[in-house]
C-alpha cells in the first residue's frame, strides 16, 4: 500500500513539475500536447522540448542518487554515508573546474565530469582495496580524503578564475542545476543509468543479508567481495550519471534512504524501489520550486536541497537515535 502511495506521489510530483515554467500552461493544454508529440505549435514545443525532458532528468537524478545512497549505506552499514563518498562528485568537480578554466567548450564538460568522476571512484576503490575485497573503513577514509583534495583543486580554480567569467560557470556547476539539459543528455546517460539500476537490483539479496554483518553474510552464502565491488561499480555509475545531468546535487542521496527506511523498513526488496520513487518525487518537486521561486532566474537545486535536506535529515536522524 505504501509503495502504491509513493508511486502516486511520484506521478503527482511529475504532473506538478510539468505545470511549472516561464509560460503559464493550463493542465488540459499540457495533456493535449503530451498526446500529440509531433505537433509543431509552441505549447507542444515547450512541453516536449523543455519541460518533459527536464522532469525526466529530475526524476532520473533523484532516483539514481537515492538508490546510490541506499546501496552504499547498506553495504557499509553506515547511515551517514552519501553517494559522493566514492569521490565521484569531487573528482568530477575538480576536472570540470580545470576544464572550464582551460577554456574547454561547455559542451564537453558533462563528459569530462563523467570520466573524471568514475576515475576518482576507481582511485578511491583502489585505495580501499584489501585482499580481494574492500575495507569499509579504508573506503570512507579514502573517499573523504580524496574528496577534500579535489575540493582544494576546485577552490584553487575558483581563486584563479575570479577575474574572469569562468568563476561563475564553475560555481553554477558546483551548485547543481538542470538548466539547459535535454533529451540528448538523458539518452547519453541512459545506458549507464540502466546499468546502475540493474546492478542495484542484482545487489538487493546481498544488501538484505549484509544487514547481519559481513562475516555472517559470508556464512549464509553471500560473495561479499563480489557484492562490494558490484555495489561500488553500480553506485559510481549512478552518481557519475547524475553529476553529468545535474552537476552536484547534495543531500538527496543521504536523506532519501532515511525517509524511505522510515516508510517501508530496511528490507532492500521494498526499500530500493521506495528510495527510487521518493528520490524521483523529491527531485522533481525541488526542481519545480527552483524554476519558479525566482523566475525567470533559477535557484540552484543543490542549494535548495541543502536548505530542506539538512534540517530534515537532522530531525529524522536525531529522532531515530532517541527512539532507540
Amino acid at each position: 500500500m505504501r509503495m502504491v502511495l509513493l508511486a502516486a506521489l511520484a506521478v503527482v510530483a511529475a504532473a506538478a513539475s510539468l505545470l511549472v515554467g516561464g509560460t503559464t500552461l493550463a493542465p488540459h493544454e499540457i495533456v493535449a500536447a503530451l498526446s500529440h508529440p509531433r505537433g509543431t505549435d509552441a505549447i507542444t514545443t515547450i512541453v516536449w522540448q523543455l519541460r518533459l525532458p527536464r522532469v525526466c532528468i529530475a526524476a532520473v537524478v533523484g532516483a539514481a542518487l537515492a538508490l546510490c545512497g541506499a546501496m552504499l549505506q547498506g553495504m557499509l552499514r553506515n547511515p551517514l554515508v552519501d553517494p559522493y563518498l566514492t569521490g565521484v562528485s569531487a573528482g568530477a568537480a575538480a576536472a570540470v573546474a580545470i576544464a572550464i578554466l582551460a577554456g574547454v567548450s561547455p559542451a564537453f564538460t558533462p563528459a569530462i565530469g563523467f570520466v573524471a568522476g568514475l576515475g576518482a571512484a576507481l582511485l578511491v576503490a583502489a585505495l580501499a582495496r584489501r585482499g580481494a575485497g574492500i575495507d569499509p573503513n579504508r573506503l570512507i577514509l579514502a573517499g573523504v580524503s580524496l574528496s577534500m583534495f579535489f575540493a582544494a583543486i576546485v577552490t584553487l580554480a575558483i581563486v584563479r578564475a575570479q577575474a574572469t567569467d569562468y568563476a561563475a560557470s564553475i560555481v553554477a556547476w558546483l551548485a547543481g542545476t538542470m538548466a539547459g539539459r535535454g533529451w540528448h543528455d538523458l539518452v547519453t546517460c541512459g545506458p549507464y543509468v540502466v546499468a546502475g539500476v540493474v546492478i542495484a537490483a542484482w545487489s538487493i539479496p546481498a544488501l538484505n543479508a549484509l544487514r547481519i554483518g559481513d562475516v555472517r553474510a559470508r556464512t549464509v552464502g553471500v560473495d561479499v567481495n563480489r557484492a562490494q565491488w558490484g555495489i561500488l561499480a553500480g553506485s559510481s555509475l549512478l552518481a557519475a550519471s547524475s553529476v553529468v545531468l545535474a552537476g552536484m546535487v547534495g543531500f538527496l542521496g543521504l536523506l532519501v534512504p532515511h525517509v524511505a527506511r522510515r516508510l517501508v523498513g530496511s528490507d532492500a526488496r521494498v526499500l530500493m524501489p521506495a528510495c527510487a520513487l521518493t528520490g524521483a518525487a523529491l527531485c522533481m518537486v525541488a526542481d519545480a520550486i527552483c524554476r519558479s521561486v525566482v523566475a525567470p532566474a533559477e535557484l540552484p537545486i543543490g542549494v535548495l536541497l541543502a536548505f530542506i535536506g539538512v534540517p530534515a535529515f537532522l530531525y529524522l536522524y536525531l529522532r531515530g537515535e532517541r527512539s532507540q
Binding site: 547481519i212 562475516v215 552464502g221
Partner: protein, 256 residues
C-alpha cells in the same frame, strides 16, 4: 563428512593451526575444547571456508571447501559465529529468514513456502516461536544467541558449525540447545561445536577434539579425553575426576 588433512594456518605471519588431521563422520557431534586462544574459533572458520589453510586440505562432503563458491558452501555447511552485532529494525523472523539466502537465485526475491516452513521449524527448535515478530534489538544476549542458532538451522545444511553456542545462555537453555544439537546429529547432521565447558562437551558429544596451542592434542571419546593426562597439561591446571552414577566421567579444576 568433514576431512582435515595436515591443516596448518597462518594469519598475520603467526601460525595459529598446525598439523590438524581429523575425520568427522555424518551423524556425529564433535565438541572442540581447549584453553582460550588455542585456535578453536580459527579451526571452525577454516572449516567454514572463511580462512584458507596455509597448507593441507579441508574437504566437506567430498569437496575441498576452498574450491566451492560461497553459495555452494552455504548449501553444505552453516556456521553460527559468536560475534555480536547490533541490528536496526529487524524482526527475529527476518534475521532467521536470512539463513535461506543460498536457497534462492538473485532474482528470486519472494519467499517460498519451504522458506516459511524452515524459519518456523528453526524458531520452534530453539523454542522462540513467540519471538518471531519481536525486534532483534530488543532481545537479551542469550535470546540473540538462540536466534543466530535458528538462522543456522534455517540454512538446512548437512553440516553445522557452532562457535560457543551456549556462551550467553543460562543453564537450562544451554542444555536444551546441546540436547537439540545431539538430536540433530542423531538425525544425520554433522555437527562441530567449539565449547568452553569440558563437562558439557563430555555430556553431549560423541567425540571431543582437544586443542592446545593450535595443535590437535587429543581426538577421542569423551571418557578417554577426560581421563587422559593431556587434559591437565593442556589446561595447565590440576584436575579432580568424578565418575557419575551412570558411569560417565566429569572433571573439576582443583583449587590452586
Amino acid at each position: 563428512m568433514i576431512a582435515l588433512n595436515g591443516v596448518a594456518l597462518d594469519i598475520g605471519g603467526r601460525r595459529l593451526l598446525e598439523g590438524i588431521d581429523a575425520r568427522i563422520e555424518s551423524g556425529e557431534l564433535l565438541a572442540v575444547v581447549g584453553p582460550n586462544g588455542v585456535g578453536k574459533t580459527t579451526l571452525l572458520r577454516a572449516i567454514a571456508g572463511l580462512h584458507a589453510p596455509s597448507s593441507g586440505t579441508i574437504d566437506v562432503g567430498g569437496s575441498e571447501i576452498g574450491a566451492l563458491t560461497p553459495m555452494q558452501r552455504a548449501l553444505r555447511l552453516g556456521f553460527v559465529t559468536s560475534d555480536d552485532v547490533m541490528l536496526d529494525a529487524l524482526r527475529v523472523r527476518d534475521v532467521v529468514a536470512i539463513g535461506r539466502f543460498a536457497h534462492h537465485r538473485w532474482w528470486e526475491w519472494r519467499e517460498r513456502t519451504d522458506d516459511d516452513d524452515a524459519v518456523r521449524e528453526a524458531l520452534a527448535a530453539i523454542r522462540m516461536e513467540s519471538f518471531a515478530e519481536r525486534l532483534f534489538s530488543t532481545l537479551s544476549s542469550g535470546e540473540r544467541q538462540r536466534v543466530w542458532i535458528a538462522m543456522g538451522l534455517a540454512q538446512a545444511t548437512p553440516v553445522l558449525l557452532l562457535d560457543e553456542p551456549t556462551s550467553h545462555l543460562d543453564l537450562r537453555v544451554a542444555h536444551q540447545i546441546l540436547a537439540l544439537l545431539r538430536e540433530l546429529a542423531r538425525g544425520g547432521k554433522t555437527i562441530v561445536c567449539a565449547i568452553h565447558d569440558v563437562n558439557d562437551a563430555a555430556a553431549y558429544a560423541n567425540r571431543i577434539a582437544l586443542l592446545g596451542d593450535g595443535r590437535l592434542v587429543a581426538l577421542d571419546t569423551p571418557d578417554r579425553v577426560l581421563a587422559s593426562d593431556v587434559l591437565e597439561t593442556t589446561y595447565r591446571v590440576a584436575m579432580e575426576r568424578v565418575r557419575l552414577s551412570g558411569g560417565s566421567l566429569r572433571v573439576f579444576a582443583r583449587e590452586a
